[in-house]
């Protein structure tokens, strides 16, 4: 059991535990906290994959800004505990069974595809070079989508402002 493999299993277990906790939690704030745990675990996995800039952006933007927005909205709307939903007696068990079968199918397909993926290209640059190469790619080949995302953020800001206006302005 090498160190990277051990780290992978730890972070993967943390991510799956967070996702399961998101489903099982009754109060939305616990679901939000579980989702933050999932995101931090995924950031750890990105670091393991050598994508350090993406890992840091994931924590700063996703876990540190978007989820803060979720938590603040839950706090403001004073979301209480959820009502219990009962699994449908007719469709529940067969549905779960089918979902399990689909999951098993996907997992075996992914596990068997190992040799196809490994035949791919050389190692991606990782470490200090990867951020530099990533920024080169972002500002040369992908500069048009990059400028479009800035426009998208502007539209989102305007939309949020319009939605937040009071009726009797």
């Amino acid at each position: 059991m090498t160190l990277p493999l051990l780290m992978f299993f730890l972070l993967a277990a943390l991510a799956v535990a967070g996702a399961v906790s998101l489903i099982l939690a009754r109060h939305p704030i616990r679901s939000a906290l579980s989702l933050i745990v999932v995101m931090v675990a995924l950031a750890g996995l990105y670091l393991l994959l050598g994508a350090e800039f993406v890992a840091m952006v994931q924590i700063i933007v996703y876990a540190g800004a978007i989820m803060v927005l979720f938590v603040l909205v839950i706090m403001l709307l004073n979301a209480g505990e959820e009502e219990r939903t009962n699994l449908s007696r007719l469709a529940g068990p067969p549905g779960l069974l089918l979902a399990g079968a689909l999951a098993a199918f996907l997992v075996t397909a992914a596990a068997r595809s190992g040799q196809f993926i490994a035949a791919g290209g050389s190692e991606a640059p990782s470490g200090a070079v990867s951020t530099r190469a990533l920024s080169g790619l972002l500002f040369r080949e992908f500069v048009f989508p990059f400028e479009l995302t800035s426009f998208l953020i502007l539209v989102a800001i305007l939309g949020a402002l319009v939605l937040a206006q009071r009726e009797n302005s």
Binding site: G64, V68, V71, T131
Partner: protein, 410 residues
Amino acid sequence: MSFFSQHPFLVAALIKSALLLFIVLTTLAYLTWFERKVIAHIQSRWGPYRVGPHGLLQPLADGLKFLFKEDPTPAGVDRLVYFLAPFLALTLGLTSIAVIPFGPEPLRISGYETHLGIADLNVGLLALFAITALGVYGIALAGWSSNSKYSLLGGLRSSAQMISYELSLTMSVVGVILMAGSFSLREIIEAQAGRSAWGLLPAWNLLAGPFPQILGFLCYFVSAVAETNRAPFDLPEAESELVAGFHTEYASFKFAMFFMSEYANMITVSCLATILFLGGWLSPFPATPLWSWTHYLPSVLLAGFGLLVLWDGLRYTTLLGKIVLPGLGTVFCVLAGVFAAVPGVNHFIQGPFWFLLKVFIILFVYVWLRATLPRLRYDQLMAIGWKLLLPASIVNVIVTSFAILKWGAR
């Protein structure tokens, strides 16, 4: 055991973490003492001076008080989140010290070489901002979980303030990143070596380069003071003196954890300001042989301080003052002698000495601001963050980019 012998860096990291944790927690405690003494002297009074000589045992007394006070949990709180919030705040505040490098020279012990500072990440600066971004949760969750309307509003205000100033905080350091060409804190410091202004000034980011980052430093410092909820931006926290705040329902030890996390954030932000703008561990004097006498400055200052402590202790009548203080003073003098005598040790302590001196100066300015300036109202606070600091830091980025395009990064 063989696992550890295969990965010696893990053992070294564990030992360094434990040591650094101990040092940081002690520094936190004595930072509170320092703050109280400085504010008192600015306000023409004495501050703590009864508990131990010069009030030096006051942090110990405060810590014992926090440990032994009653810790009631209010009714109707969400227990998990209520206990999680201060723990999260303190953990995040202490974690950010892990990426800060303290000195250039590695420490060599029995053939194993390790750098000062626990981790040197390629994206160290971004990691610090990531930890700061997560720090908002401690306050937001504390305000919400206390099951009290005033706590909730205080927590919301405080987290809104922290999020707003995070933007200008991160934008104001982009100029430094552009000039250094890297996110790694060690490389940012190393890019500031050398002299500028025809050899008169050190080539720190504040003073040199194509565009001296003065605007960046001011934006960074003001945003940092607001980000750590310190005066004059501490309205969400000072409301606890008037009505309520996010830590109003928290009693002894949990309140102490919030308190400690605030000071830990202060230390982190000061260390970052030193690294980014003031040259980190670099000496302000040139490295020519003419100025090699400055290498003895740490020992001379330490010896002077030791003599002062010794002389001061002799005029105490209490047992503690008469024995401990002169003892401490002698220890300092002996250490200073050792530093001056052994050239290897002297070379090693140059970096950490200048780093700690600069951090100390910035912490002094922090405390000075608290004692001197009046508090800002909340709408003034948010207006400054969004309408003044964010545009100023964006202007800094634009001007720095043009300066680098024209004159090159160094």
